[in-house]
Amino acid sequence: MEFDKNSTLKLAKLARLSLNDEQLNSLEKDLTSIVSFIDQLKEINTDKIDPTSNSLNQDLILREDIAENSLSNEDLLKNVPESELGFFVVPKVLE
């Protein structure tokens, strides 16, 4: 797959990245090269193979339903860039 400006911009939009022209250019080139590298796998026949998404062979660990509020509002917002009255705030979102 050859990445062009359009396909690169589309991905950037999905990933919430804004790119200038220079970055776009170099990314198109890099992505094309990476994809041609991973495209090697296309030759491997994997028809009868199940995918493994985690190598740990264990049952999912379950938690008991016990409620505790361990984090104060103050600690929650300790690193917040911007907040008001205990809320996180973002530029106005129109629905």
């Binding site: 970055q23 990314l27 992505l31 994809v35 090697q40 860039p81 106005k92």
Partner: protein, 490 residues
Amino acid sequence: MLDNLTIEKTSKLLSEKQVSALEITNNYLKKIKDSNKLNCFITVSDEKAIDAAKQTDKRISNNEKIGLLDGVPLAYKDLFCTDGILTTASSKILSNFIPTYESTVTANCKNQGAVVLGKLNCDEFAMGSTNKTSFYGPVINPWKSIGNDEDLVPGGSSGGSAAAVAADLCVASLGTDTGGSIRQPASFTGLVGLKPTYGRVSRWGTVAFASSLDQAGPISKTVEDAAILLETISGHDNKDSTSSLKENELFYSNLNSSVKNLKIGVPKEYMSDDLPEEIQKFWNEGKKILTENGAELVEISLPSTNTALPAYYIIAPAEASSNLSRYDGVKYGLRVKEKSLIEMYESTRSEGFGDEVKRRIMIGTYVLSSGYYDAYYIKAQKIRSIIKNDFDNVFKNVDAIFTPATPNTAFPINREEIDPVQNYLNDIFTVPANLAGLPAISIPFGLDNSGLPIGMQLITNSFEEQMLLNISKNLQDTINFSNQPIQWWA
């Protein structure tokens, strides 16, 4: 007496009251101060370190029994969240983030009385094998080629963790390994680097790169120290759903160095004409030592070896692209002010992430996107099954696998880079163990003709770290690698 300390040695000095923990800590803090050229540390937590050292001294003067890590100065890759200490993942996007919590791994060390000197530089979000992708600039390898002043990479992503131990700026360190990020820098700096079995060490509180591959582990001067640290940081954690329920083991006390009657596999797929002669030479020497010490060498086949790297460069970016979505300027970290939410996201993330991170987010987004998911992501997960199956088959017949750790030794920081794939090839020998979740270690073997360290890798079956450490100790004791970089930075 205060230099080139191992955990074992430090602990002995302290329990015999030959020196105080404070003296040891102050000596390391001074050395760190003099090592700015290496750029190993992002944060030096001197006050907290001195406090902890004093606590150890108090325990010693009260004649309390102290553990092996009590009073031992360590440093952590800046990927482990540390309560009240800046934690950046070497990224601008977290350049102001001070956690209110402590990762399970570092909390375990803290509970043993370890002294934390500070947080170590690494590749941004652990993405890289050169330590050049850090927002805080590259780490410089304390090793240099003979007669050449050129700065070399320490490897990565745990480059600071390796360089700091190699330059003796701390007794040992912790790193993380997603595709070789502990073993490759350990190999580039003449150290022991261990990646535990996936699930052996809790990931809670460690900034995630690729969740199904990440494991924390030690970088140390000796196999014994690796055993002590592994024993400390491992064990089940009910805050991590991928944490193994296996009982913790006493790796250090159970350490022995016998390889008698062990079968060691040598995979033919790792042999290549491209492998530098000197690496080949040490690999052969290792095989010879193992045979001489009583092990049986077996040629084995891991047929899917060459599919591991492309599969890794699908799986790791896919998981990373999703893991890094939380860095959006809303809750913590960098925010670039904009008028709309989407512009705020885009500007924050574009300014906050470096080029390599952006590349991987883009690739990860691509392989998960509609129309490509099956062809790439699912395909790679199937390849992972094949690779794991390869190893399962081999471990029916052998106890361990012996390979080089890296296809090259440390290279110049200014090496011209044609494209990113070139750097991805640094992980060629290390990645399969991550995909299969197996424990693997890199141990120093010797120096190449330019005087740069070469490491070899051992891989064992899941949760067979004890055997991994035992074979490593046998090799370590036989080889007796004791070279150190010549100090040029202070």
